[in-house]
């Protein structure tokens, strides 16, 4: 199997695991890890898209998706750092790491 197909399958798996984690748990750190997995899956997909098609290898790598990945990584690092800070503050104030439905009325 050519490399870009392997990347794409791996990307699909990462996206699926990430989405599963976000939807399945109530624990915000795990959800954040799920978001990171989802993000990494998307970055891997972009890397796979950047690969030259197998029947025209002389085209080389497409730089545009790679530039997107670079920007995406910067955004992901900032978002994760900020999210962890916020979650830590939330834990310090409320003493828990879940955000359940309800109990918002008052």
């Amino acid at each position: 199997m050519e490399l870009s197909k392997v990347y794409m399958l791996a990307a699909a798996a990462l996206v699926a695991i990430g989405l599963f984690a976000i939807l399945r748990t109530n624990h915000v750190v795990r959800q954040l890890l799920g978001i990171n997995l989802l993000g990494n899956g998307i970055f891997l997909l972009l890397i796979a898209i950047a690969q030259a098609p197998a029947d025209a290898p002389e085209e080389g790598l497409d730089p545009v998706p790679q530039a997107m990945v670079l920007t995406g990584i910067v955004v992901a690092v900032c978002a994760t750092g900020f999210a962890l800070t916020l979650i830590e503050r939330y834990r310090a104030v409320s003493g828990c790491l879940t955000v359940k439905e309800g109990a918002d009325a008052d």
């Binding site: 996206v15 976000i22 915000v28 959800q31 954040l32 978001i35 989802l38 993000g39 899956g41 998307i42 997909l45 972009l46 898209i49 545009v64 998706p65 997107m68 920007t71 995406g72 955004v75 900032c78 978002a79 900020f82 999210a83 916020l86 979650i87 503050r89 939330y90 104030v93 409320s94 955000v99 439905e101 918002d104 009325a105 008052d106």
Partner: protein, 479 residues
């Protein structure tokens, strides 16, 4: 200052960004710097509007001289200039209010707010799907940080929920952008629109982007994060979030469905967005009616008003009056909701809480604030001569023209439901209870009361002087 109208659009992103950095470094000067930035931003804004008025064309700028599809293009047409002006106006109202409201403990407010403003302006002028992702993240992170500003448990909890949903939404959008690039080899919107044909990859891409943006736009049933986030933030933050932030995702959705994927044979999905709007309208309004806290009531009213924007979503590309109608509704809601949230901030300042049943002894002592709520209510209900009425009138015409009687009935019913929750608040003013000295009462500073009233008056003025904005929206044609 800029001489070229195309760079004027970029100044509108640059000015708030630079101000954000400086206010972050010099937090004590936040107030002055933001005031100066708001004043300076008026120059490029006026230049853009004047250019569009005289030339009646579209302003396109390729960043760094690299033209699309490889480079990143920004463009401004009449409707975008209208939105830029609206964002500026809301920011001025919020700014005047915050001069007194945001005390020394809230120095982080100024840089975060400037980031939000830069992100919103960037979102409006961007013509590139990936660029839109970056602005979405900038807006999203700034909005979450602003929500958490008070540091109280309820606000932090709402902020964490908002963050998880917001990040998931923007990543789903990014996944859609990646697939769009895979399918069409471009992320520049006009380029994609040209080469668009319905392919499986392209369809999955638009579906993912739509789901992600619906999460961010808090359309029913993805609205659950909105009321706690908007209700537990500080008043100016609630105003910014309700008036502008949720509209950002909506604007991208409109551009996706009405420009980029216009030719795709997927009108069934657009219909469903309309049905979601109908559900949001009924659910949001009925929840607003039963809320016990003033700010929760206003937040659910936002859920309902977002429903109006989605209601005629499928008709925007085909009916000439739909887009101006939606834009007027959007602007009227932004101004009225800013006024309403700022007024709620005054009430909390005066009473120390926002429990509706205990406000009947406080509201009669806040005549200016009560007047602001009444005028904002006029626009939210859609009574003439407000901007809300005019937008609704245009949309009602479109609904009848296309024989969507259910949409026409909902537009009218939405106004009736809105009047129920607005009158729940206004009745408190005429409770007839004598203000007693036993209750603690702290009069809000006049500038805060007048800022709220100013925003409400702007929502009414939008209806009275609607010719100017309507003419501006038509300038340069639809992108």
């Amino acid at each position: 200052m800029p001489t070229d109208p195309a760079t004027a659009a970029l100044w509108l992103v640059l000015i708030p960004l630079v101000t954000a950095v400086i206010t972050f470094l010099l937090p004590s000067a936040g107030r002055c710097l933001v005031t100066v930035a708001l004043a300076i931003a008026l120059l490029p804004l006026m230049q853009l509007i004047q250019y569009l008025w005289v030339v009646d064309g579209s302003v396109i700028h390729a960043l760094g001289g690299w033209a699309a599809p490889l480079g990143i293009a920004v463009s401004v047409q009449g409707d975008k200039a209208f939105l830029l002006a609206l964002i500026w106006l809301v920011c001025v109202g919020v700014g005047l209010y915050s001069l007194r409201y945001m005390g020394e403990g809230y120095k982080a407010f100024w840089p975060l707010w400037m980031c939000l403003w830069a992100g919103l302006n960037g979102l409006v002028i961007a013509d590139d799907l990936f660029n839109l992702y970056v602005t979405l993240e900038l807006i999203g992170l700034a909005a979450v940080a602003l929500t958490a500003l008070t540091g109280e448990a309820a606000a932090l909890k709402a902020a964490v929920r908002y963050l998880i949903l917001g990040l998931t939404g923007s990543l789903l959008y990014l996944l859609g952008v990646a697939l769009t690039y895979a399918a069409y080899g471009a992320v520049d919107m006009p380029t994609v629109a040209k080469v668009m044909t319905a392919t499986p990859t392209g369809n999955v891409a638009i579906a993912l982007m739509t789901v992600g943006l619906c999460l961010k736009a808090a359309i029913f049933p993805a609205h659950v994060w909105l009321p706690p986030a908007h209700a537990n933030a500080k008043a100016p933050v609630s105003a910014l979030l309700s008036a502008l932030v949720v509209k950002g995702a909506f604007l991208i959705l409109v551009r996706l469905w009405c420009d980029v994927y216009r030719n795709a044979q997927t009108s069934g999905a657009q219909e469903w967005l309309g049905y979601l709007g109908a559900a949001a309208l009924l659910w949001g309004a009925s929840q607003a009616i039963i809320q016990q806290r003033l700010k929760m009531l206003i937040a659910y009213s936002t859920v309902a008003q977002l429903g109006y924007l989605f209601l005629l979503f499928p008709l925007i590309p085909t009916h000439a009056n739909a887009w101006p109608g939606v834009l007027l509704m959007l602007a009227a809601h932004a101004l009225a909701k800013t006024a309403f949230f700022l007024a709620a901030g005054n009430v909390i300042w005066a009473a120390g809480h926002d429990r509706l049943r205990d406000l009947d002894i406080v509201m009669p002592r806040l005549p200016v604030t009560a007047f602001a709520i009444a005028l904002a209510g006029v626009s939210l209900i859609g009574l003439p001569p407000s901007g809300g009425f005019l937008g609704k009138w245009l949309l009602l015409g479109v609904a009848m023209e296309s024989e969507r009687w259910w949409a026409a009935i909902l537009l009218v019913m939405g106004g009736l439901l809105a009047s129920v929750y607005i009158f729940r608040v206004l009745m408190l003013v005429f409770s007839g209870k004598a203000p007693s000295d036993a209750v603690s009462f702290q009069a809000p500073p006049p500038i805060m009361e007048w800022a709220a009233l100013g925003m409400a008056l702007a929502a009414i003025a939008l209806g009275l002087a609607s010719e100017l904005p309507l003419a501006l929206i038509e300038r340069g044609g639809r992108p």
